[in-house]
Amino acid sequence: MSISLRRIGLVAARDYKATITSRAFLVGLFVMPVLFVIIFTLIPRILNSNSPQVVGEVTVIDPTGKVTAELQQTVTPADIERRRSMEAGQNPAAPPAQPARTPVTVTGPAIPRLTLVPLPGDADVQARKPWLIQPRNATPQHLAIVVVRPDAVVRRADSGAFGNFDLYTSGHIDDNTETVLRGSVRAALIAARLHSVGEDPAAIATAEQVTQPDSVVVSATGEHAGSRGIARFLPFACGILIFISVISGGQALMTSTVEEKSNRVIEVLLAAVSPMELMSGKLLGHLGLGLTMTGIYLLMSFYTLGVYSMAALLEPMLIVYVLAFYMVTYMVFGSLMLTIGAAVNQMAEAQSLMGPVIILLVAGYSLTPIVGLAPNSSFSVAMSFIPPINTFAMIARVASSAPPPAWEVWTTLAIGCGTAALVVWFAAKVFKVALLMHGKPPNMATLVRWARMA
């Protein structure tokens, strides 16, 4: 019996063309990037743009007599904006020390306009609490009561710590407003404490301002901008890229096989091609599909990183490894999905058999952020050699800031190829028997029995 590469090619081309032009695949192809865009950019913007500015009053009971004045400063929108910038690692006061790659706008919820209502230091808090209870639409809104402790600015002689403040809030205050208020009171307390010991809070605030510089990576091939934050994300990104491509290709492969079986076109095909040719063609067609998907995602990543001058993160060898690990992972999981597709009569029957396959895939890509943080730990090294999740662990290590030696990468690839060969062999045996089987959906034990029969 001879295997015809021509027939394998024809089956692969048909499956590739039929799937890549299907509406479901096109939607699936762009769903992930669109989701990312929505999650990382649009949702915060939408949420912020829609959040109305809170305008309300805050009662302050300040027995120290020093915090209220500071608080008047720290609740101003300008001061709140300044603190947000500092938390984002920017220096709002100083000019940039080096040309910024792309200005990053600090976005956040609308800044609330808070008006302070100072009460005498000995005012009764209990008597004031009903002030917070009012209808939701009341104007002005009574948002909170801040009660500064007497030793909040000057420590008591018998205590090493400053006193704090108590906060009573209305039931209608939102989380953002409360956070802003807490931050403002904290800043006011620090300023009052510094003033009390003769220090200049403004000078100290200026001294605290250290803009984080962008690192410059020096390598044998030259220098390029480092990207610590993005680099930490890279192992996970590579893992999820492989995961999405494998699961998309595998699902499409399974669906097309189930359809061919339920449409009764399988036997028509088997008149023209052998089961091995049919299986090989289908596997290759959908491998091409996954490669196309991976290629599109890589191009999109190139473009996006290029906008931020970080395209250098995607080194050529990393891309080669992503493609190689994708192919190995696909052959393992795709073959399993193909087997399931051949064994069942309808998609609904595939769910129970798909469970373990999906769990293994998810386990693989879930490893990537953990392995990426400690790429050379014993756990990470061990995971790199345990199939079928070894490809995910290794790509995370390769994409990390401390990649493993080449021999480890090639060993993982060799183990992956061996696993793929074993799974394809099993799939071929089941495929041959299962294609013409109809009736009760099989379980795992039945699949093994069919493999023995073939």
Partner: protein
């Protein structure tokens, strides 16, 4: 002449059920064979083994003088009983794809598919999606898929199932054309009338065993010496009166006249003379033996019938009537 198909002592078992037992068959090139038997007899299993879709547990199958169907897929056309198509593909693309899989170029496959669609009354479906066709149209398209590669061996498993009479006639004509082109044809059916009409040779299978391998000409030379068909000259003649003629066991009236069954041992020549004397005939003849009768007799003689004769006859007649109506 080299045999198109040579089967030697094949056996196939599914679990506890023996699907095919010791089947031997040789089909010469250019012949047209009918593989008949009731549903579940093992016809489809035998065909799947010929096609190397299933493999025998023992025995051998060789095509065109050597090798299996896996080595000769491009030379075979196959219309399975369970046939489908790619619903989203256009008819033209589907047929071209099937032709290409069987070794034809795109141009050859597309051109022949177009011609055959026209021949089967489907001139305007080339660009339509398969899912847009009626069941009957789709069956004709599937038939075209089986012959788009101009096969040397054409295997048709229940080709007329579910077709309307016009489509059945068209398909029969095209099968005859393929035969005249030189193709060897094997087709399975449980409709005896189709087999009688199309085949040169009949192979009967029952419970996985071959019970008959005989030419149609040979079968037609066999008569049922206990059955006489009589058509009266006078349509108003009293045919039931024939019951009183010596040697007559039973008289069944039908549209043309009557079907007379003789007592065992009665000499048919003298009985015919006596019957013609009793009622003037427009036509009187010995009944030709029917395939279903042959089948029942063979099954009874081989001792493989688990059903009663009447049950077997009812089963086969029911199927025959389906076919006869087409």
């Amino acid at each position: 002449m080299t045999a198109a198909l040579e089967i030697q002592a094949i056996r196939k078992v599914f679990g506890d059920k023996v699907a095919i037992e010791s089947l031997d068959l040789t089909i010469p090139q250019g012949a047209i064979y009918g593989l008949i038997g009731p549903s579940g007899a093992g016809k489809t299993t035998a065909i799947r083994m010929i096609m190397s879709i299933l493999f025998p547990d023992s025995g051998s199958i060789s095509l065109f003088g050597g090798g299996t169907a896996l080595d000769a897929k491009d030379r075979i056309g196959y219309l399975p009983e369970e046939r489908g198509s790619y619903r989203k593909m256009t008819v033209g693309a589907f047929l071209t794809y099937m032709g290409c899989l069987k070794g034809r170029t795109r141009a050859q496959a597309s051109g022949r598919a177009d011609r055959l669609l026209g021949r089967l009354g489907l001139t305007d479906v080339f660009a339509k999606k398969c899912e847009d066709l009626s069941k009957g149209m789709l069956q004709r398209v599937q038939f075209v898929a089986a012959i788009v590669n101009e096969p040397e061996l054409l295997i048709l498993d229940e080709p007329f199932g579910g077709l309307d009479p016009v489509s059945v006639r068209l398909l029969k004509e095209v099968i005859a054309e393929e035969h005249h082109r030189g193709a060897t044809i094997i087709f399975s059916t449980h409709v005896m009338a189709h087999a009688e009409e199309l085949c040169q040779q009949i192979v009967m299978i029952h419970q996985g065993r071959k019970v008959l391998d005989e030419s149609i000409a040979g079968l037609r030379r066999q008569y049922d010496r206990r059955r006489i068909l009589l058509e009266p000259l006078d349509p108003g003649a009293n045919l039931l009166a024939l019951k009183s003629v010596a040697g007559v066991e039973n008289v069944k009236l039908n549209d043309q006249g009557c079907d007379i069954r003789l007592v065992e041992g009665t000499e048919p020549g003298s009985a015919m003379r006596a019957l013609a004397g009793a009622v003037a005939p427009a036509r009187i003849e010995l009944a030709r033996i029917r395939l279903e009768d042959v089948f029942i007799r063979l099954v009874s003689e081989s001792g493989t019938a688990n059903e009663s004769h009447e049950a077997l006859r009812t089963h086969l007649q029911g199927l025959s009537n389906t076919g006869a109506s087409s």
